[in-house]
């Protein structure tokens, strides 16, 4: 069901953990739907993401997308981090099963939520960043069957 990359990031998730006094923290998803992701960002004065950590409650794809998303934003500046879309995460994982696409959306959203928190704390505005939705799942589900 999962690609080798997904399995690798699930079995050996990168950047699991917490960052104390993080520059930004974002938590998205909800327990009702079975996925919660929390991203911690450590951003330096040049708006470079020096470090990133995550914690995830969710399925294999949720863990793998969190792990991959953290890898993709690590060392980037916040503008570059904004470019890390769910598509980018999926591609980096060699794809996800259709029913798991929402996990990649969640990962994107978690990054955005952490950036939003950082922006709020620092009173800055990040180009293209919107206030995170409280429930990422609404209306995002893909129907596999389209007859």
């Amino acid at each position: 069901m999962y690609t080798e990359k997904v399995m690798d990031h699930f079995q050996n998730p990168r950047n699991v953990g917490e960052i104390e006094n993080a520059s930004g923290v974002g938590t998205v998803g909800n327990a009702k739907c079975g996925d919660i992701m929390r991203i911690y960002l450590d951003i330096d004065e040049n708006q470079i993401i020096r470090d990133v950590k995550f914690k995830t409650f969710g399925c294999g794809a949720a863990v793998a997308t969190s792990s991959m998303a953290t890898e993709l934003v690590k060392g980037k500046n916040i503008q570059e981090a904004m470019q890390v879309t769910n598509k980018a995460v999926m591609e980096a994982l060699d794809g996800l099963p259709p029913v798991k696409v929402h996990c990649s959306l969640l990962a994107e959203e978690a990054i955005h939520a952490a950036l939003w928190d950082y922006a709020e704390k620092n009173g800055i505005k990040i180009e293209g960043l919107e206030k995170p939705k409280s429930d990422i799942h609404e209306g995002e589900e893909e129907e596999e069957e389209e007859y």
Partner: protein, 393 residues
């Protein structure tokens, strides 16, 4: 081969080698169509009758009350839709429970769209249907009560004899989905006043793609699949002779060793339950502790999600299942776990392990040892656990 501990016997079982041996001649040697006139094929008709007798014997039924189908799902669909049609003149109300298999629930939804009314009974925190609630739900236009013999997720065995008695007293037909219970625990259709009963071959070490519906003589339902005159004109389609022979053999074997197997499985099951309860914190046994299928263990582990748990177990060679939504691609966790009152996030973190007679104590020990570690590891990366710990502090 990699270590493999198969603890998902409620999903499907291994077809036992004796069953396969019994089936084999019917593929390439005695392959004739039982409806044919010539002796070569007509003998297969008798072979089918013999399997019917074996199954009827186990249920305390008559052999011409057993109708072969393609599995439990078809049996459930047939029982519900055909009863609904046959008795529509009497009424259009059906009673069932909230924890039935989707083969029942989705068929009920189908009927609801066609003008039938369905009462879905609540269950208690152990998954038990209250017979009094069944009685209270009966109306003059009630034509059918369908309550499963035992639940496939949490293993709870329902009070079928009492429900049957109530149905009988009120002159309402009673169907039970016994897919998980038949040939695993004793069932007598007369003692339980069962009018219809569904079963499936692959849940009892028989082949996939074969099952049966028991229909008590006198029940007026007609066919669900129309065509040839097979199964006394009630179920059309060339008979799956090897499948029927395999089912008969599996039932024969299961019935012969039932008590022994139950004793063995119950002891192992309780050992597994005890170790988990003692050694893994923040867990909950789902389903009734005593009124429970001999081979079913179902736990919820707080703060973690079921699919991750399954994949981690899989990496250790352990096959199990979960009530997590993620395993089915939907968002809601198992309707059964919600019906027994679990909050969503706890329902998501559930694990079903269903043993069989080949499971050993060493297997169980290996499973618990690994499970402990895996649960700890997943909790260490869970934001819910993080919040919980911080709150405790």
């Amino acid at each position: 081969m990699k270590k493999l501990i198969y603890l998902d016997n409620a999903a499907t079982t291994k077809t036992s080698p004796e069953v396969v041996s019994a089936m084999l001649p019917y593929f390439t040697e005695h392959y004739g169509n039982p409806s044919s006139v010539y002796g070569f094929a007509a003998a297969n008709k008798e072979v089918i009758t013999k399997q019917r007798e074996i199954i009827a014997g186990v249920l305390g039924a008559k052999s011409n009350e057993i109708y072969f189908t393609a599995g439990g799902t078809e049996s459930d669909n047939w029982a519900l839709t055909a009863t609904a049609e046959a008795y529509a003149a009497k009424g259009k109300h059906i009673i069932t429970s909230k924890i039935e298999h989707h083969a029942i629930l989705h068929t009920c939804e189908y009927l609801e769209k066609r003008g039938y009314e369905v009462t879905y009974l609540d269950v208690d925190e152990n998954g038990l249907v209250d017979p009094k609630a069944v009685e209270a739900a009966i109306r003059p236009d009630t034509i059918l009560i369908s309550v499963m013999f035992a639940n496939n997720e949490i293993g709870t065995i329902e009070p079928i004899a009492e429900i049957g008695r109530i149905a009988h007293e009120h002159g309402v037909l009673f169907h039970t989905d016994a897919v998980q219970a038949f040939a695993h625990v004793p069932i007598n259709v007369d003692e339980c006043n069962i009018d219809m009963l569904s079963a499936s071959g692959h849940k009892l070490n028989g082949p996939k793609g074969i099952g049966f519906l028991y229909i008590r003589k006198g029940v007026k339902i007609r066919s669900f699949i129309h065509g040839g005159a097979q199964e006394r004109k009630r179920r059309a389609g060339t008979e799956n002779v090897p499948g029927i022979v395999g089912l008969g053999k599996a039932v024969e074997l299961a019935a012969a060793s039932m008590q022994e197997r139950m004793d063995y499985e119950i002891e192992l099951r309780d050992y597994l339950i005890d170790r988990i309860e003692k050694e893994i914190p923040y867990c909950r046994l789902n389903g009734d502790r005593k009124k429970r299928l001999p081979n079913n263990v179902n736990f919820s582990f707080r703060f973690i999600e079921g699919e991750s748990l399954l994949i981690m177990l899989d990496m250790k060679g352990i096959c199990a299942s979960s009530g997590s939504a993620c395993t089915s691609g939907s968002l809601d966790p198992s309707h059964v776990l919600l019906a027994i009152g679990l909050p969503h996030e706890i329902a998501h973190g559930s694990l079903r392990m269903t043993l069989d007679e080949e499971t050993t104590r060493e297997d169980v020990d290996y499973v618990v040892d690994n499970l402990k570690e895996i649960v700890a590891q997943l909790r260490s990366m869970s934001p819910l656990y993080e919040d919980f710990v911080k709150k405790q502090a």
